[in-house]
């Protein structure tokens, strides 16, 4: 049996975190509600992909992405944002997804990113 892919979901809204956990029930999902605890999770165990919000109290998602690049260099990054601030030129981010998002869409994005397409 192949090992399940590991995801880290980061959002300051508990119900968004819960929604994504349910969306990726067939994945091994870690969750965090701010950038600092997300980095702690990454240090404890690396993941295949990080799904993160940008605007959060404390450090922003962008600062998390900066640090994750050295803590967990292999992880792909998918950003979910409430703002239509598409920073397509940011090469650290594999996909930008705006809220509200479609469940099928975000699953497809994660699958594509993990398969490298």
């Amino acid at each position: 049996m192949t090992e399940r892919r590991r995801l880290l979901v980061v959002d300051d809204e508990a119900e968004i975190v819960e929604l994504l956990r349910l969306t990726f029930e067939d994945f091994d999902v870690e969750t965090a509600m701010d950038a600092d605890s997300a980095i702690d999770r990454l240090r404890a165990r690396p993941v295949d992909a990080i799904i993160t919000d940008i605007r959060m109290p404390g450090r922003s998602g962008l600062s998390l992405i900066d640090e994750a690049a050295s803590v967990c260099p292999g992880a792909s990054v998918i950003v979910i944002t409430g703002h239509h601030q598409m920073l397509e030129s940011d090469t650290r981010v594999a996909r930008w997804i705006t809220k509200p998002f479609s469940i099928a869409g975000i699953r497809q994005a994660v699958t594509e990113v993990l398969s490298g397409s």
């Binding site: 929604l19 605007r55 404390g58 998002f101």
Partner: protein, 312 residues
């Protein structure tokens, strides 16, 4: 000119002087009656009547300009909080839309177990709660943006403070600003709720900016307190631990177009509009501050006590 005639003139003269004195204290609508003589005194009275009618006209223009200034200040306040609001609406929208999609996917799979049906019902319940959360925010934006009727109604002050936070809470949260409320329950004043809410949004925005100036993203604390000062007066204070200001600044802070912010970041109208609204409610607003020690804005308003209730 006979002496009798002079006496008669003096009585008329005094009535003209009285009328002018009344105008000076704001009774612009009383015209000075003219005599049939059409003499110099009538010419003077006529001139004063023309002036007072001109003043009446200018006053009504000024009042309508003030009303539109307040309305545009309100819309500016709304504009300022709108990015926080978009975020605040988008989160519940994403939750609702996500849960509905999950439930539909599970239902489409056909053979749902009792346990799965219960889980679906729970998810729909969450979706419903988030719809209500969005509806409340939207209702409130509409209420606030609407040009309010000039009426003043007996209003619970705590309710106005709490409503003003609906529009600005998200910004506070994102900037790590803790807003602590300590509001004496049941305190009322006869106010225009939407205008008073604008007062609190302006003061809270101001406090937020002062905290960001002093501490950046590290955040800070705002205390909002209300208390009865007497049977006839209430006080609401908005206190921050932000950058504070020197005496010269705090003396000028309610002047129109006075701003300590960089060009392009605010017109310097927020606090002067705030001042105008408080005065219009028969109240006062003062500011106590020192550089590096935060600021406290205190608003005092005439208290409204419901008939047949003994005040606390």
């Amino acid at each position: 000119m006979s002496r009798d005639k002079l006496c008669f003139d003096r009585a008329r003269f005094e009535s003209v002087v009285n009328a002018i004195e009344n105008m000076a204290v704001g009774e612009l609508w009383k015209e000075i009656p003219l005599s049939t003589d059409r003499d110099e005194l009538d010419a003077l009275a006529h001139g004063v009547n023309v002036l007072s009618s001109e003043l009446r006209y200018r006053l009504s223009e000024l009042q309508s300009a003030q009303a539109s200034l307040i309305q545009s200040g309100k819309l500016a306040a709304l504009g300022e909080v709108s990015s926080g609001l978009a975020h605040e609406l988008n989160n519940p929208l994403a939750i609702v839309s996500g849960y509905v999609q999950l439930v539909r996917a599970w239902m489409a799979s056909g053979n749902a177990t009792t346990e799965e049906l219960a889980q679906n019902a729970a998810l729909l319940g969450k979706a419903e709660r988030n719809l209500e959360r969005m509806a409340a925010i939207i209702r409130h934006i509409l209420e606030f943006a609407r040009e309010s009727k000039p009426e003043k109604v007996p209003t619970l002050l705590a309710e106005v403070v709490e409503k003003s936070l609906i529009l600005i809470n998200e910004q506070m949260r994102l900037k790590n600003i803790d807003v602590a409320l300590s509001l004496q329950p049941g305190l009322m004043a006869e106010v225009n709720p939407s205008k008073l809410e604008q007062v609190f949004i302006n003061l809270l925005s101001n406090a937020r900016d002062a905290i960001i100036e002093a501490h950046g993203d590290a955040g800070g604390r705002i205390n909002v307190r209300s208390q009865a000062l007497s049977r006839s007066e209430v006080e609401v204070q908005v206190c921050d631990n932000g950058a504070g200001m020197d005496e010269d600044t705090s003396n000028r802070i309610f002047q129109p177009f006075f701003s300590t912010k960089d060009a392009g970041k605010g017109m310097g109208l927020g606090l002067s509009i705030t001042h105008g609204i408080v005065l219009e409610h028969g109240g006062t607003i003062t500011c106590v501050s020192e550089p590096g020690k935060g600021a406290t804005f205190s608003i005092r308003l005439p208290r409204w006590i419901p008939p047949d209730v003994e005040p606390a």
